[in-house]
């Protein structure tokens, strides 16, 4: 069975600080990896995804993530956060059959202006 761990439950940063949110997954086969964001009062939106190829993927709003297969990790990064990045971030994995997403517990990010 797949599982996803997000080690940081709450992160507080000041504007312009750099961000890195950790995500580790457990699955023996080929996976697709995702980061979703949930802004306050809004629905889950896709930030970025990795299926294959270049392990460094770029998403919307300046976010990027790096897939490190040997570490089973898919960490999310942003060089300089903004107050509008305040949200909850979810890492998710999907097996190659593509039927279900397994989510981590989420990281709540607060950016202080």
């Amino acid at each position: 069975a797949q599982s996803v761990s997000q080690h940081n439950h709450h992160v507080i940063l000041s504007e312009a600080a750099s961000l890195e949110l950790g995500c580790n997954y457990s699955y023996g086969g080929t996976v697709n990896l995702f980061w979703y964001v949930q802004y306050p009062g809004q629905h889950l939106q896709l930030l970025l995804k990795y299926f294959s190829g270049d392990p460094l993927v770029k998403g919307i709003k300046g976010f990027e993530a790096e897939f490190i297969k040997s570490k089973f990790s898919f960490n999310l990064r942003k060089p300089s956060v903004q107050w509008s990045d305040t949200a909850e971030y979810f890492c998710a994995v999907r097996d190659n059959a593509g039927n279900m997403l397994t989510f981590g517990g989420g990281t709540r990010l607060m950016v202080k202006p």
């Binding site: 809004q42 889950l44 896709l46 979810f90 039927n99 997403l101």
Partner: protein
């Protein structure tokens, strides 16, 4: 182009009652998945429907059932409600295919008293 829509937005029920939640997928999508997101947690996969049949099911009891209609819309039914069923219920849709991304609706917030 409308995204994934869900109804109702909020619902209050009492223990033992039954509830039906509805989802209309994004235009062009034929696969619908349902997720339960308890407060402070990541979404958990309930089941997925494709071609009007349940294709995969997560670790949820038989009290949770669903249906997909010929127009690809879907219903989630929960019988004999428990307090622990209080959560945000998310619908996600996608087209069939390994590399397709799921798009989430705004959810239905269910409170069981």
């Amino acid at each position: 182009d409308a995204g994934v829509t869900q109804s109702p937005t909020h619902l209050i029920k009492t223990r033992g009652q039954q509830v039906t939640l509805r989802c209309s997928p994004k235009s062009g999508h034929d696969t619908v998945s349902w997720y339960q997101q308890a407060l402070g947690q990541g979404p958990q996969f309930i089941f997925q429907y494709y071609e009007e049949e349940e294709r995969q099911r997560g670790n949820f009891p038989d009290r949770f059932s669903g249906h997909q209609f010929p127009n690809y819309s879907s219903e989630l039914n929960v019988n004999a409600l428990l307090l622990g069923d209080s959560a945000l219920y998310l619908c996600a849709s996608r087209t069939t295919g390994e590399r397709e991304t799921q798009y989430f609706g705004p959810g239905t917030r269910l409170l069981v008293l």
